[in-house]
């Protein structure tokens, strides 16, 4: 009985220290989350305006041809996948990879991974990685997003890939984050995009619509990637906060149960000792 009690005590101690870690992680995630969410919210307006302008240009000029609007003949896909640098964030990483498996089924594809977990995941599966120089999501800044956009534009112009898509986690709310995908290139989907617009008449493009379009596309892609990355980071922190909150609660419950068990065992051992003493006293 005494050895059993010792084991329970040890277990309680280990749970307590785990709980301390999960609680600390939860607090860190919660404090970082506010900033990350603000950043994600800030990016949205510029992205929306850019997108609307590109739709406008492609709608007004039915005859115009841009390298980026035509789908190339290549059947290969390139996925830009954004996941986290670390685990301990509930289903954040695995949900995203599940979505990726679903999306890439039956396709011949390469990836451009953002995030350590993504790099590890695709290296393990021997998928061709375009570049792993953007492995740490936490370190990626706006300049890197432009480099990524330029890489994407370059490989697309060369005709290496027929389609390029972005897979990330959308921040729905503090409690819900959804893995999502959006097409990056070609921009042929812009023509179909329905948008009721105010009659703004003819717009003058300088030097001409194609040049403006070609100059704006890489910026639009960078904005899209930057926005998606900010959303993903906010999602990761929110997921980690929820997961660590649940872990802390579970640890608390386990501690309560073990404390009850420990007290019962202690009481039982005392009772047993008394019984033994009484029996001994009776014997004499």
């Amino acid at each position: 009985m005494a050895s059993n009690m010792k084991a329970v005590k040890l277990r309680m101690k280990s749970i307590e220290s785990t709980m301390q870690i999960t609680r600390a992680m939860q607090l860190v995630a919660a404090s970082k989350l506010r900033k990350a969410k603000e950043k994600a919210d800030n990016t949205r307006p510029s992205f929306g305006i850019l997108r609307n302008t590109l739709i406008d240009i492609s709608k007004r000029n039915t005859e115009f041809t841009s390298v980026y609007s035509k789908a190339s003949d290549s059947p290969r896909w390139l996925y830009v996948v954004i996941a986290g640098d670390r685990g301990m964030a509930g289903g954040y990483n695995s949900n995203l990879f599940k979505k990726m498996v679903e999306l890439s089924q039956g396709k011949d594809y390469d990836v451009l991974p953002l995030g350590k977990k993504t790099v590890e995941y695709y290296k393990r599966r021997n998928v061709t990685i375009l570049t792993d120089s953007f492995a740490e999501v936490a370190d990626i800044n706006m300049g890197d997003c432009f480099s990524i956009a330029n890489i994407i534009c370059e490989v697309f112009r060369k005709g290496n890939y027929g389609h390029i898509a972005l897979v990330y986690t959308g921040f729905v709310s503090m409690l819900t984050q959804r893995p999502d995908q959006t097409s990056l290139l070609p921009l042929s989907d812009f023509r179909e995009a329905e948008r009721e617009e105010e009659s703004s008449g003819i717009i003058l493009y300088e030097p001409d619509s194609e040049t403006v379009f070609d100059a704006v596309v890489p910026q639009y892609l960078a904005a899209l990637i930057y926005g998606a990355m900010n959303e993903s980071i906010a999602s990761e922190l929110a997921a980690r906060r929820t997961a660590m909150d649940a872990a802390t609660k579970n640890a608390g419950e386990m501690l309560d149960k073990l404390a009850l068990y420990y007290n019962r065992a202690r009481q039982a051992s005392i009772t047993q000792e008394i019984t033994e003493i009484v029996a001994g006293a009776e014997g004499t």
């Binding site: 800030n42 990016t43 307006p45 510029s46 305006i49 850019l50 302008t53 240009i57 706006m142 300049g143 432009f146 480099s147 330029n150 105010e198 703004s200 008449g201 003819i202 717009i203 003058l204 493009y205 300088e206 030097p207 040049t211 403006v212 100059a215 704006v216 910026q219 960078a222 904005a223 930057y226 926005g227």
Partner: protein, 139 residues
């Protein structure tokens, strides 16, 4: 009083300016240009350069503007920049460090074509930020 128009300046960091202005000028891919009220509906792309906004009350504000686009539709002007730093917000020390770093990088003969281009662009941005800060008496 000069005619004004509604100007919105948005960068990837959020809304930088939203209000009435008399004039906005910046460097486009086609050269320097300025937009006044009642400009024809217009759209162009912006490169690295100085941008100047003349506010409703005639105050002049300068900024370092990098990339993006400018649209003027029905007297509503939108300037979407990749980065936009008002002269008073520029971190001169950071710009100087960036400039020094890129200069060292550019001296490296083994630098690849794309990284050389990226470094040159970075250098131009740093030079622009320093120039604007200096012109506004901040350095």
């Amino acid at each position: 009083m000069a005619a004004t128009f509604h100007l919105q300046i948005v960068s990837l960091d959020g809304v930088e300016f939203d209000g009435m202005a008399q004039q906005v000028s910046c460097r486009t891919i086609d050269g320097e240009m300025a937009v006044l009220a009642h400009h024809i509906n217009y759209c162009t792309a912006i490169t690295v350069g100085k941008a100047v906004v003349v506010l409703e009350d005639g105050t002049r504000r300068e900024s370092a503007c990098v990339g993006g686009m400018l649209t003027m539709v029905n007297n509503e002007c939108r300037l979407i920049a990749n980065t936009w730093e008002w002269a008073e917000e520029i971190d001169v020390d950071r710009a100087r460090t960036a400039l020094a770093k890129t200069e060292v990088k550019l001296r490296d003969a083994s630098l690849g074509e794309s990284s050389r281009r990226a470094a040159q662009l970075k250098k131009r941005r740093a030079e622009l930020r320093i120039r604007i800060a200096e012109e506004n008496g901040r350095a």
